[in-house]
């Protein structure tokens, strides 16, 4: 694992990727810090983090696109498969490499509250709590990016799909508010989600029967539930969207709340996607 990690870090900072990411994050953090804290006379660094969380939409695809897709294109994945290294260590090494690339600018950003404290009273706990959550949000999104990179063949495809996924996650809550709170529309929206899930399953597993079964079972289950208890469905869709929205979970931290459930939520997502990445690498060993 350490060998892979060291290689990853080396490659991030030997190419422009690592530096580009750091510059990108720091420029936006700097601009928003300037306007919110310095010009806006606010002592809340959390607001800056909340405002700049959108840069993950671009930063995550940049960091994650090359990680596994590029290995496949260059056929270097064959080396990783033939070395006496577990796939889980490879994935973990890659992931920690990404985290390091993200941690570097975040560490520099951790100086901002100290600088701001020169001009007023800063609530360190709240500021650093938010910064930690900001990093955790990034880590969570990166695990999704890593997984997407593991199922795609080229950097470009990986970057585009990751960008779309990030956009969906970012606007998920906003979009879900367009669905009316009526029970039937919730049911339809959830059924559409089930079908989308089945389509994704088809793309990943390439097994028509399983996908159709998943779609039918999902829709059928939802309909039976709806037939049994229609009132449970009113407003259900937006409630679900709100509770799974990755970005919205971050809002609590910017309000000064250290939300432990959100931390656990993020960590669970990371574990799930790292697990899926290992599985997708393992699957390639069988289907290639």
């Amino acid at each position: 694992m350490t060998a892979v990690l060291r290689r990853e870090i080396g490659s991030y900072y030997k190419s422009v990727t690592g530096w580009l990411l750091a510059a990108f994050l720091l420029i936006f953090a700097g601009i928003y810090c300037m306007s919110y804290n310095l010009s806006g006379y606010s002592a809340k660094f959390e607001y800056v983090l909340s405002a700049i969380s959108f840069i993950y939409l671009i930063a995550v695809p940049i960091i994650s696109m090359r990680s596994l897709a590029e290995e496949k294109r260059q056929k270097t994945d064959q080396l990783l498969y033939s070395l006496p290294v577990r796939l889980s260590s490879v994935v973990l090494g890659k992931y920690l490499g990404m985290l390091t690339a993200l941690a570097f600018p975040v560490l520099i950003m951790s100086l901002y509250p100290l600088i701001l404290s020169q001009f007023g009273t800063i609530l360190y706990a709240s500021a650093y709590g938010a910064l930690f959550a900001f990093f955790l949000l990034g880590a969570c999104l990166l695990s999704i990016g890593l997984f997407i990179s593991s199922v795609t063949e080229s950097q470009v495809a990986s970057a585009v799909i990751t960008l779309v996924a990030m956009l969906l996650l970012y606007f998920m809550n906003g979009l879900s508010s367009f669905i009316s709170t009526e029970a039937t529309s919730s049911l339809i929206a959830l059924m559409i989600l089930a079908v989308i899930f089945a389509v994704i399953l088809q793309v990943l597993a390439k097994n028509v029967y399983v996908s159709i079964l998943a779609a039918v079972a999902g829709c059928g289950g939802l309909y039976l539930w709806y037939a049994g208890n229609p009132s449970a469905f009113s407003g259900l869709f937006s409630t679900i969207m709100q509770s799974v929205s990755v970005f919205d979970r971050f809002d609590a931290f910017t309000d000064g709340v250290f939300d432990l459930t959100a931390v656990i939520y993020y960590l669970s997502i990371i574990c799930v996607f790292l697990f899926l990445t290992v599985q997708s690498m393992e699957k390639r060993r069988w289907n290639e």
């Binding site: 350490t2 060998a3 892979v4 060291r6 290689r7 080396g10 490659s11 030997k14 190419s15 260059q74 056929k75 270097t76 994945d77 064959q78 080396l79 498969y81 033939s82 070395l83 006496p84 290294v85 577990r86 060993r285 069988w286 289907n287 290639e288």
Partner: protein
Amino acid sequence: MIEVKNLTKRYGNHTAISDLTFTIEKGVIYGFLGPNGAGKSTTMNIITGCLGATEGEVLVDGHSISEEPMLAKKLIGYLPEQPPLYTDMTPLEYLTFVASAKHIPRNEQTKQIDSVMEKSGIQEVRNRLIRNLSKGYRQRVGIAQALLGNPEIIILDEPTVGLDPAQIIEIRDLIRLLGKDHTIILSSHILSEVQAVCDSIMIISNGKLVASDTPENLTRLFAGTTTLHVEAKGDLEIVRRILSGVEHIEDITIGPDDGQDLIVADLKPEEGADIREDIFMAFAEAKIPLLEMKSMRASLEEVFLELTQGDMPQISDSTDHADIENADAYNAGKEAVAG
């Protein structure tokens, strides 16, 4: 050293290799021979753990590649068809990465890296980016990578593809050198290469092992199909009559040569019979000039073609040198008659 048992790999409906069983002995250089798409790379990928088998198992020194991959992979150094190089690294950085991934203790790394760079001849490019190296050097970096950790088995998938003739010779010499203290499996679709470096040849066709023996034995196996090629000047019927008078001929294929005033015949002598002298005398007595006579043995190339295509061997011109030069034959014929 390696035991491959009933190995089968299917991709959907396509069977890449089916029911492959063989054993790799210690200290031998093996050549995997087969046309493109025969399943050579698939087999090697499964042996090295890069690919999962649909059925069957591979034991490397008793360790199953699927059950105990860490132990088995330590014993193998693998160079895939396309060298798996990180082009943004220098050979030194790359080999350091591979060395630590192979769990070589740090205090031994420098020594080992130096030694494999020496063996594969990449010392002078150690600090250049792999991206800027020529194909030959990249191949050597790939070989160096396989040598790290001093594995007992080295598996090279088409190690000389895309190299120039001088580089091919160097790589072959390197393989022969490595063969002194490693077990080597190399694959190729080039016969002369396998013939030149390997102690044992395994011919794979359509995912099946069709032959496995030493190059000499494989050639001898098919040496029974020696034929005699005869070219004579004259009438078809006369030549046919002359030949039918010669004993110990099993089979005659005869016909006029296209475009020229020649009769060409391929004769299959009976097992063990040397009919060259009789033929010569027969033609000489009939005063028919014999322009050419040569006996031909199936070469390894024909063995290969026959095994992989299921056709009869094509007879080549280059194996046995019993040629009688045209003019000599003609003169000798005249003399014989005069005598």
